[in-house]
Amino acid sequence: MDAQAIIAKRIARELRSGMLVNLGIGIPTLVANYLPEGVNVFFQSENGLIGTGPIPEEGMGHPTLTDAGGSPVTALPGASTFDSATSFGLIRGGHLDLTVLGGLQVDAQGHLANWMIPGKMVPGMGGAMDLVTGAKRVIIAMQHTAKGKPKILEKCTLPLTSARPVDLVVSEMAVIGFPGGRATLLETAPGVSVDQVLAATEARLATPENVVEMPL
């Protein structure tokens, strides 16, 4: 399994029937592919859709039914559409049970930076700030390092996405939570040791006795 598949598959295990879930672009989108059997969630696209379905078969889409990246999607039975104010009301108002987003950096307190690299990449925050501030649970799906450098840092050097800490970081090496506001190693990927995770992480990680293997 490649890194992206490990991350997406592990996060998919966090989904429960009835949840309203928003998946960001990139690795987060892959989570939908690993939805456990019998689990039915509502996927929201923040451009105004609940009930987002798979990519349409060739010739079976419509230009007015797209995901937040503007790409064609389908809608499942029971889908609903709405304007952007309602869409972000769902996000900010505590209705969104879970958002899965990509990350550039996460710090030891769980703060996320994922929307800009000053002087280099200024795409705009889009919905990310509202998602991280408003969702009931925030999971970050990202590779553990970028070009060999740790992305989980003692302190983010990039501008923060929100003052609200994330709940979980899932990488291809580990699952990290923030109980009591402190980065804590919860799981290691199959074949990855605690020491390997610590070596690839700049933030000091609490390492409890019971670090388990990531269930996939």
Binding site: G18, L20, F42, Q44, L49, I50, G51, A75, P77, G78, A79, S80, T81, F82, A85, F88, G89, L90, I91, R92, G93, G94, H95, G134
Partner: protein, 215 residues
């Protein structure tokens, strides 16, 4: 989302609960739920709604039975019983401009701390509130409002909880559905999933907790 009986729905609501109730002079009110609350003897309720309808109608039945400890509403002029209980001190009544009331509820449901409105500036409504000036114009800071339960009534529901409303029976319903910890809906018609067009769903299934079955 779970489909339950009206008895089960009413029994989830404890004495003293705060309820947002849909409807405008009883139009669009979940009447069966109200009737059942009266029947089950629920009391000390806090009722947030546009109005108190009139004696014998909708929320008016809770008032008639003396079950409302406090109401937050924009208009009680057509319910003399509410006015009587207010004057006698039996019921507390907070009167809020209708546009402010619906925006406070919306703010509660949309994750906003509140809104800035010119309505009420220079009147008794501004008493005790923070005022703020933006580009030379004064606004009141009106804070968000939420409730324990939203009791909504729809025209169409499907079995996942998607709701759409009929004509002027829409009123407060879709707004309160966003602003409560638990959302209970009744509907004139409950149809199989997929029969309400996505564009015609007004309240998305994901925010409705319980749907009351029709007999």
């Amino acid at each position: 989302m779970k489909t339950i009986t009206v008895q089960e729905a009413a029994s989830m609501i404890p004495d003293g609960a705060s309820l947002m109730v849909g409807g405008f002079m009883g139009v669009g009110t979940p009447h069966r739920l109200i009737d059942e609350l009266v029947r089950q003897g629920r009391r000390d309720l806090i009722v947030i709604a546009n109005d108190n309808a009139k004696p014998g109608v909708g929320i008016g039945k809770l008032v008639d039975a003396g079950r409302v400890a406090r109401t937050i509403a924009s208009h009680i002029g057509l319910n003399p019983e509410t006015q009587r209980q207010m004057i006698s001190g039996q019921m507390a009544v907070d009167l809020v401009p209708q546009g402010t009331l619906i925006e406070r509820i919306r703010a509660g449901g949309y994750g906003l701390g509140g809104i800035l409105t010119p309505t009420g500036v220079g009147t008794v409504v501004e008493e005790g509130k923070r005022k703020i000036e933006i580009e030379g114009k004064a606004y009141l800071i009106e804070t968000a409002l939420r409730a324990d339960f939203a009791l909504v009534h729809a025209f169409l529901a499907d079995y996942t909880g998607n709701l759409s409303y009929a004509l002027t029976a829409r009123n407060f319903n879709p707004v309160i559905a966003m602003a409560a910890d638990t959302v209970i809906a009744t509907a004139d018609n409950i149809v199989p999933v997929g029969l309400i067009a996505p564009d015609h769903v007004v309240t998305p299934a994901a925010i409705v907790d319980y749907l009351v079955a029709n007999r």
